[in-house]
């Protein structure tokens, strides 16, 4: 290969890398946006806030993408660690808890038949009330499991516990939430 062509050959390889990056962005966005938004709703219960903080997380992730190291953990772990920190920062800045808008939650839930939708609205209200009564860590782990859909090993990395501990806390938290849910049902 003659040396004058070498730089552009390398550049061409980098161009393909950039293309791959853009494709990767699309793929990551489509894959993680619903989960991230779902996680925000689980944690905050407010649609507008969930949208704002979801946007903040993606922006932070993009600007810090160079700091992500694949050998240090999965991308989802990295992304949800950012999400968790964003929520923590937000809650720290808020003197009061965010107002939960149950109508918002119902509007966001996956559409079903009118009958089941009505039941779901009732369920959502009770679910959110129940979640609010859980300890912060329990609520966090439920959100990371059911909204972010992370396996216990990754939740463990995000919250700084062992995977076994995460499993135990999850099981107990679901038990507590179910009982409160059922108690509300009986009223």
């Amino acid at each position: 290969m003659d040396e004058t062509t070498l730089p552009l050959r390398l550049s061409w390889a980098r161009l393909h890398m950039a293309k791959a990056d853009e494709a990767t962005f699309e793929e990551l966005y489509e894959h993680y946006l619903p989960r991230l938004f779902n996680y925000m709703i689980y944690r905050l219960g407010n649609r507008q806030l969930a949208e704002d903080l979801t946007a903040t997380v993606f922006e932070k992730a993009l600007t810090r993408i160079a700091t992500y190291r694949r050998d240090r953990g999965a991308f989802s772990t990295w992304l949800f660690t950012i999400a968790r920190n964003v929520i923590t920062d937000h809650l720290r800045q808020q003197a009061r808890a965010e107002i939960v808008n149950l109508d918002d939650l119902c509007a966001l839930a996956a559409p079903e038949t009118p009958e089941t939708q009505y039941l779901r609205q009732e369920e959502l209200a009770r679910l959110y009330t129940g979640l609010n009564l859980l300890a912060e860590r329990e609520r966090e782990i439920i959100a990371l499991k059911f909204a972010a859909e992370l396996p216990n090993t990754r939740i463990a990395q995000v919250v700084g516990l062992s995977a076994e501990n995460v499993g135990v806390i999850l099981y107990r938290a679901i038990g507590k939430l179910r009982k409160r849910f059922e108690e509300e049902n009986e009223r």
Partner: protein, 324 residues
């Protein structure tokens, strides 16, 4: 007891993961009623997904893609992948290495031209040596000399203040057509042209390197160079023989490269630089050629484009983005 609880919670998590994947939880008859109740509740939770509003989804995506534009995040991130090149392009010093014989010849021709009182575009040509054509142009109040050495398929522009700009042409198989339509007859793919060209810019000619690669040359009047050039090389990834093509305009050492986004945010390479090199002419001393400009390389579908220009950066990118 502790071990049982650990087993149960591990089993529970595994079942929840299955539910989240859309599968059903495993039969858990052997486990306690509480476990089953928890799992049923988990199933209801797993079905509860809050969906982002589609308009929010689209809005955020657009906003993030804008942030991926050259001026923001992606550029910095991609820059980190590129080797650092601090050297910035500078205007070339005036070249002073033209041989005395050539100076005399050119000087004579220039004097003739100036004496003629030519204003605006005016061209004359003469044969200085076998196979060598020299064109003289007087442009506004600047004198421009264009050399074309057929034997080496190299064209040179000389500006009296700036220096010499080099455009390399392939050595073989070049046919020149005056219009896109004329070239299109012998080219196997639709020739794309820029929808935008700077004011005063016009097609000079189309060079067909072979049926699967063409270069469209555009000329314009430029205060800085007197006479500027935009060359757009285009070719399919594979030539008519199915072989991968690898033709690009080149720059010399010290070229600064960056990845930018043009054409609906498709990535492209922008090379900025000035080139200099010694050129050997048969039986003559070599002399240094200096030029400065931009090269943009990008792909669009099966086509590859390499645009060379002496326009300012933004104008170069605007022309590149308008090639359709």
């Amino acid at each position: 007891m502790k071990e049982n609880q650990l087993d149960m919670s591990t089993e529970f998590s595994r079942n929840v993961d299955e539910l989240l994947r859309g599968a059903r939880a495993e039969d858990c008859n052997v486990l306690s009623g509480e476990y089953r109740a928890n799992l049923e509740f988990a199933e209801r939770l797993a079905r509860t997904r809050f969906r982002p509003d589609p308009s929010f989804q689209a809005r955020l995506k657009q906003s993030l893609q804008e942030k991926l534009a050259p001026e923001a995040g992606l550029k910095q991130r991609l820059r980190a992948l590129l080797p650092r090149q601090e050297q910035r392009p500078q205007y070339a010093p005036r070249t002073g290495l033209i041989t005395a014989r050539r100076r005399l010849a050119l000087g004579g021709l220039l004097v003739l031209l100036l004496l003629g009182g030519v204003l605006g575009w005016r061209a004359a040509s003469t044969v200085l040596a076998e196979g060598e054509v020299v064109k003289l142009l007087r442009l506004r109040n600047q004198d421009v000399v264009v050399f074309m050495q057929e034997a080496y398929r190299q064209a040179y522009q000389l500006h009296t203040r700036i220096g010499v700009k080099l455009v390399e042409l392939p050595e073989k198989g070049v046919e020149v057509y005056p219009t896109v339509a004329a070239a299109q007859v012998v080219v196997a793919f639709p020739i794309r042209i820029p929808a935008y060209l700077p004011p005063g810019c016009r097609l000079k000619d189309i060079r067909v390197l072979e049926p699967s690669a063409v270069v469209a040359d555009y000329q314009y009047l430029d205060d800085r160079y007197g006479f500027g050039l935009i060359s757009i090389l285009q070719f399919p990834h594979l030539n008519t023989r199915g072989e991968k093509q690898d033709l690009f305009f080149r720059m010399g050492e010290g070229t600064r490269e960056e990845i930018i986004l043009v054409l609906d945010r498709k990535p492209a390479i922008l090379a900025t630089g000035q080139g200099w090199r010694g050129v050997r002419w048969p039986g003559r001393k070599g002399y240094t050629v200096v030029w400065e400009g931009y090269i943009v390389n990008w792909e669009d579908g099966d086509m590859v484009f390499s645009l060379w220009s002496t326009l300012p950066r933004e104008e170069t990118l605007r022309v590149a983005a308008s090639v359709r």
